[in-house]
């Protein structure tokens, strides 16, 4: 379904698919593969399918301030969300942030991975550690660190005002800009790793071949390297987009109470207004929108770069 899958399919031997079973053997189903995957399937069902189904059912219930959750089946929560501008704004904001973060991660992460690959041995490891560093720190403490930097008397504003670039502090806290910056910082390693993986499959001589044919270094990047790492950028984008659209801790701390995104909205519905069915409906809609956008974009780009995915 995703680019990650099609990448794996590349390495598979095509002959393996077409090899027919020996004809003289009696038809007998081999249950071993199914039995072997049973534990994983059971885990998958208990931890993913069951909670999802329960959330879906919950989102169909109704809720009243004095009556609590009513065990009725209706679509009222969904019509509320679809018709209310308040929810529209939150969902739009969520996806605006996710798209911006994905673009920023692609623009920063892909060149970063390329530069890392061309580095010499001791520096490469060190720089990779720096890139992956954010993943080693808890989301909350990392985001609180950004809050310290971002504040109106934080290091960034103080420094910018100190060198005279700005007269009044820039608003980072409780703005989309702040959330996008902090999320990009958190998610860029996923893009770097994903592009790194596809760069590993690149024949190092291919760039020299293009050079020998008279291509300038930038042309080599654009015409030869970039098309071959598109699958990596795409699978990285899917990971980053999904994580950014459903991010909770960063928008909650940097965005605060007023700048809500879908995940913080669902949280508030569950824990503050105690309207569990509405929160569940928000979560289900976020899931559906995420899947639709990711699958749609994937199809589009896969068609554009068909030969690379083949």
């Amino acid at each position: 379904m995703t680019a990650v899958d099609s990448q794996n399919a590349l390495s598979m031997d095509p002959a393996a698919d077409t090899a027919a079973p020996p004809p003289d053997k009696p038809e007998r189903r081999n249950w071993a593969p199914y039995l072997l995957s049973l534990p994983a399937l059971a885990l998958y069902a208990v931890l993913l399918v069951v909670p999802l189904a329960m959330t879906l059912l919950l989102s169909l219930n109704s809720f009243g301030f004095y009556t609590g959750i009513q065990d009725v089946w209706q679509l009222g929560n969904y019509t509320d969300i679809v018709t209310d501008d308040y929810f529209h704004e939150i969902f739009l904001r969520t996806f605006r942030i996710a798209v911006l973060v994905t673009l920023l991660c692609a623009v920063l992460g892909a060149p970063e991975a390329y530069v890392l690959r061309r580095m010499k041995s001791p520096w490469r490891g060190l720089c990779l550690l720096v890139v992956l560093g954010p993943l080693l720190i808890s989301v909350v403490s990392r985001t609180l660190g950004w809050a310290l930097l971002f504040g109106s008397t934080g290091i960034i504003n103080t420094a910018l005002m100190g060198i005279g670039l700005i007269a009044t502090p820039i608003e980072f806290m409780y703005t989309e800009t702040g959330v996008v910056i902090a999320l990009t910082h958190v998610l860029v390693p996923f893009m770097v790793l994903s592009v790194w993986a596809s760069l590993q499959r690149l024949d190092p001589q291919v760039e020299n071949a293009a050079l020998s044919l008279g291509a300038k270094p930038f042309t080599v990047l654009r015409r030869v390297v970039l098309p071959q790492v598109v699958p990596g950028i795409l699978s990285g984008s899917i990971i980053v987009f999904a994580l950014a659209a459903s991010a909770f801790a960063t928008p909650a701390i940097i965005g605060g109470r007023r700048l809500k995104v879908a995940a913080t909205l669902a949280y508030d519905e569950f824990l503050n207004t105690l309207n569990w069915p509405l929160g569940a409906a928000v979560a289900i809609l976020l899931l559906i929108a995420n899947v639709v956008i990711i699958v749609g974009c994937n199809r589009l780009i896969e068609r554009r770069y068909k030969q690379v995915f083949e």
Binding site: D203, Q205, A209, A210, S212, A215, V308
Partner: protein, 350 residues
């Protein structure tokens, strides 16, 4: 006037001397092979000509112009890589057209030249295939067409046939020779396969440990190896340790009690005698005594392993009806004095 000149080319990686003061001249239209075991510096030399490695010292001139002053993408050389290095996201025709596009050749001319180039390598009908839908041999041909279509002043081939199976390799050798005759491009072929080098080249450059051991036409290098290393590397050979002596009649070498006259003037002391297996015959008179340890039938010829006092000796005899000794039979082997080569030193120092 020589076309390509390598003048005291040197490449150092830290303490390791990969290429050591290599000087070589190549004539226009010549196919010359750099031949040697892995790590002998042949690929490093090629990479320096291509511009992917900067030499630590020395000069390279092509047609009188300093090649080292130019960037790799300005040198106008064609290169065929060991891994083929095709662009996987482009069709065969797009691969071939890439170099022409970089030279801003108009679309119509470009299409015609791509078609001609694919025709030349026998892939006229494969233009719209992607590389991963082609066999190794076909990919190799696309790589060759891509390098030739830009009309390179020099074509560099880095182990171009080593990834092909034996039958395909033979076909491609003939193909490569035919194309070289057709287009007349000056080519430098890097290979560790002595049969390939001998089959294809006008001259071979035999390299060892970053140094040139011998530059000669394949036949000359085979018949008159300049060193024990060359004798051993080019085809099979027998190396026999002996002792060089000077007496009234001139220089002689003693091997296992038999003395052979040596034409060259060599200092007395240890010497190495080399003789090709196919030059050794079973004789009745004077020679080196031994016994047949093994004999193997190889279709057109018999291979004998003879144990002599001077060490094991390989003998190849044609399968042409002559009577040959059986295994464990005592024999005496000999050769004509003009078929052997003698060098001062010990076999281990080769």
């Amino acid at each position: 006037m020589p076309y390509l000149v390598l003048d005291k080319l040197t490449k150092r990686f830290g303490q390791w001397l990969a290429v050591d003061n290599l000087s070589l001249t190549v004539e226009k239209g010549e196919l010359i092979s750099l031949l040697g075991p892995s790590g002998c510096g042949k690929t490093t030399t090629l990479q320096m000509i291509a511009g992917f490695l900067d030499p630590s010292g020395g000069r390279v001139t092509l047609d009188g112009a300093d090649l080292l002053a130019k960037k790799p993408n300005e040198r106008g050389l064609g290169i065929v890589f060991q891994s083929y290095a095709l662009f996987p996201h482009m069709t065969a025709a797009e691969n071939v057209a890439f170099g022409l596009e970089m030279r801003s050749i108009p679309r119509a001319d470009r299409d015609r030249m791509v078609k001609d180039a694919l025709q030349l390598v026998g892939l006229g009908a494969f233009g719209d295939r992607y590389p991963r839908r082609m066999s190794g041999g076909q990919q190799q041909r696309v790589a060759l067409a891509r390098a030739l279509v830009i009309k390179p002043s020099l074509l560099l081939l880095d182990e171009p046939l080593s990834n092909l199976d034996a039958k395909m390799r033979e076909e491609m050798q003939i193909e490569l020779r035919r194309i070289q005759r057709t287009v007349g491009t000056t080519m430098i072929l890097v290979t560790h396969d002595q049969a390939e080098a001998m089959a294809l080249s006008d001259r071979v450059v035999i390299m060892n440990k970053g140094k040139v051991e011998q530059v000669a036409a394949p036949q000359d290098a085979y018949d008159n190896p300049a060193s024990a290393f060359v004798a051993n590397f080019l085809g099979r050979t027998n190396l026999l340790q002996g002792t060089l002596r000077q007496d009234g009649g001139g220089c002689r070498i003693d091997v296992a009690g038999t003395a052979w006259p040596v034409a060259a003037e060599l200092p007395a002391g240890p010497g190495v005698l080399t003789v090709r297996p196919e030059k050794v015959t079973f004789v009745d008179g004077a020679g080196v005594p031994g016994f047949v340890r093994a004999r193997v039938f190889q279709g057109t010829q018999w291979l004998f392993e003879i144990q002599t006092d001077a060490g094991p000796l390989t003998v190849i005899r044609q399968h042409d009806g002559q009577i040959l000794p059986a295994e464990n039979e005592r024999v005496t082997v000999g050769w004509r004095a003009e078929d052997m080569r003698v060098m001062a030193g010990t076999a281990g120092g080769a």
